[in-house]
Amino acid sequence: MIGQVLYAASMVAFAVALLFGYFWGANWLLDRMLATTPAMAGEAITRRDSLRTRIRPWIFLAPTLFFLAVFLIYPIIETFRLSLFDRLGQNFIWFANYSWAWNDATFRQSAFNNLAWLIVVPALSTGFGLLIAVLADRLWWGGLAKTLVFMPMAISFVGAAVIWRFVYAYRGPDMAQIGILNAFVTWLGYPPQVWLQIPLVNSFLLMVILVWIQTGFAMVILSAALRGIPQETIEAARIDGAGEVRIFFTIMIPQIATTILVVWTTITIHVLKVFDIVYAMTNGENQTQVLGNLMYRWTFIAGDSGRGATIAIVILLAVTPIMIWNIRRARAAEGTG
């Protein structure tokens, strides 16, 4: 135990020393090797100055470029290549993995489930987030309410899975229920249910976990956007006799539409990658499978890198529209700024 603590501490020190050594050392070396002295010819000074200016950005960028290349760009190409090969990555089989996926019942089920997640989770998270933001901004204890709703954001998916498995826990009908959902259901007079084994219901209950986590995110962003609405527009509508509800839908919502879209797409990305929750709660049993978990199963349990890679590419294709939209927004922001 002590050994591990010392190891971690020494590794932190090592990482810092390495980074400091690289950035400081490389810059020092650059200044040193291309140093200019007053004795030099004016032309030589200018040349060395411009050379330094041209090289320095790449010293700053080199580690980042290394990480981008090794951990993101190379894997995209390599995963696509592997998706065209068989299970051990030895024989080229064209698009056989893709046609397998298209015809495979579990893959279809997973894709269908992902689609359901894609609709339910962003919609509920954004909806609840907006509702809580609007309510909390009007009440004196809104700050506390927001903190409590926001808290799940900090919790891991696995931690959340334990928390919610306990909520959904089942005990036989003649026993006292320890899961709060079944306790509520039996209190209403219905028999307790093994929630995680009922198809469709179980998927929805898994989605609830992600909604529980992501609502805080939506709430914080939307709350900030609501504050940014010019007060005059609301005042004007009020003077014209519009009610609170009408003001909300016709004045406030249109003004934060872009933010809603940003929140929606951000949550969508989380949804497409969802793995931990399903892995921890049901491991895809009882028709709860999603692409993220299916990919893991094919790659690391079944040992079929071709099919695993194919599923990963499908997930990439699904996020591509959002990627393009993000790039467009970034370019627009570059243009104005």
Binding site: L19, L131, G143, P152, S156, I180, A312
Partner: protein, 397 residues
């Protein structure tokens, strides 16, 4: 998260007399709706926290919301055989205590059959099917008497409902931390998260500065690439990077799975977002500061270290928190790039193992889960301001 701006319109409304009743009802509804939502959002964590401190026996038989009231369990005890009887004043007597040495429990009701276990209060006298009659006191002491000698060879059962006073304990935490390896994994998680956070934030900060303030060909293209790569799913990188690790590790004759690889992987997967967020912040710093420093002859390296970095501390703090929490909470990367041995399994992985091995031992699961979320919760509550700021920087531009 204070609300100042939005309090204004309400104050205006209340000056209009014809609006008053409507606003009053609306406000009450708003209070109730928000209260309801907050309760729903908080209950699951409350359940976890309360349960982790409860006595395992009580946790298994009663809901956590009853933790402060006495728990009730249905049990049965076997009475002694006829050989235990004594003769007292012409009657045959068997004595004992149903609850044994468990002195803090109390008998709530009892009966000679399972169907009648709620029929009799303590102190009552009941006829036994095996003969004679029995009196059970609240503390579990019983007296079974009969005018004729007992002859039974196996003792009959007495069914009862026992009340257990609320018991809270730290034992669950002690158990998971020591025997279930959660303590060990806590250290492992720190070993993964701290170096990985530091590496990624430092590396990203330099790149962010270059992308924000240095002029070089391909800058715009690089920014666009970074933005595009933010959303690339982690799943895509798993197989190629793992193969790469195994090949490189093979050259040196070491194991491809280990801390070093995880740090690099976390840095790599997180770098587009960290660079993007930091660049946005740095690009917003006043241009005049940079220009005057340039005129004074400072190099970009000096400007970055002495000016930009100190000015970017709020953004660096937010992003470090995010990166740290993301790595601390990660399961997939650790699952793929770390070994399964005791000195490498992180908290999330250990919790998954606990779920698999002890799916119904809620005292272990809740305590383990709570240990794993303590660090995020401490970070969250102490640095909430930075946390929110980081979120806003990432989404609204």
């Amino acid at each position: 998260m204070t609300s100042i701006a939005t309090d204004l319109p309400v104050a205006r409304e209340s000056r209009l007399p014809n609006w008053l009743p409507r606003v009053g009802v609306g406000r009450l509804l708003a209070h109730l709706a928000l209260l309801f939502l907050v309760v729903v959002w908080t209950l699951p964590i409350a359940g976890l926290l309360v349960s982790s401190f409860r006595d395992p026996d009580q946790l298994a038989v009663s809901g956590w919301w009853t933790a402060l009231t006495a728990g009730r369990v249905q049990e049965a005890a076997r009475l002694p055989r006829a050989t235990e009887q004594a003769e007292e004043a012409g009657r045959f007597v068997i004595r004992g205590n149903l609850l044994g040495a468990n002195t803090d429990r109390q008998i709530a009701t009892f009966g000679p059959t399972n169907a009648t276990l709620r029929a009799n209060e303590p102190g009552a006298t009941v006829a036994m099917p095996a003969g004679g009659e029995i009196t059970v006191e609240a503390d579990g002491a019983y007296l079974w008497t009969s005018p004729t000698a007992f002859t039974h060879t196996t003792g009959p059962r007495i069914y009862y409902v026992a009340e257990i006073p609320p018991q809270f304990t730290l034992e669950n935490y002690f158990t998971v931390l020591t025997t279930n390896g959660i303590g060990r994994s806590f250290i492992n998680s720190l070993t993964v998260a701290l170096p990985a956070t530091i590496i990624s934030v430092v590396v990203a900060a330099f790149a962010a500065y270059a992308l924000a303030w240095m002029r070089f060909p391909g800058r715009t293209l690089l920014v666009v690439a970074v933005v595009g790569l933010i959303v690339v799913p982690l799943q895509l990188a798993l197989i190629p990077v793992l193969r790469l690790y195994n090949n490189v590790a093979g050259l040196f004759g070491v194991d491809g799975k280990g801390y070093f690889g995880v740090w690099l992987a976390h840095t790599g997967f997180g770098i587009p977002l960290t660079v993007y967020l930091l660049r946005n912040y740095m690009a917003g710093l006043p241009r005049e500061i940079m220009e005057s420093a340039r005129i004074d002859g400072a190099s970009h390296f000096q400007i970055f270290v002495t000016l930009v970095l100190p000015l970017s501390i709020p953004a660096v703090a937010s992003i470090s928190i995010f990166q740290f929490l993301w790595i601390w909470n990660d399961l997939l990367v650790a699952l793929v790039f770390l070994g399964a041995q005791d000195d490498q399994v992180v908290l999330t992985g250990r919790l998954i193992n606990l779920l698999g091995a002890y799916g119904d031992r809620w005292e272990l699961l809740t305590a383990g889960a709570f240990v794993s979320i303590t660090v995020p919760l401490i970070v969250f509550f102490s640095l909430q301001r930075y946390f929110v700021r980081g979120l806003l920087a990432g989404s609204v531009k």
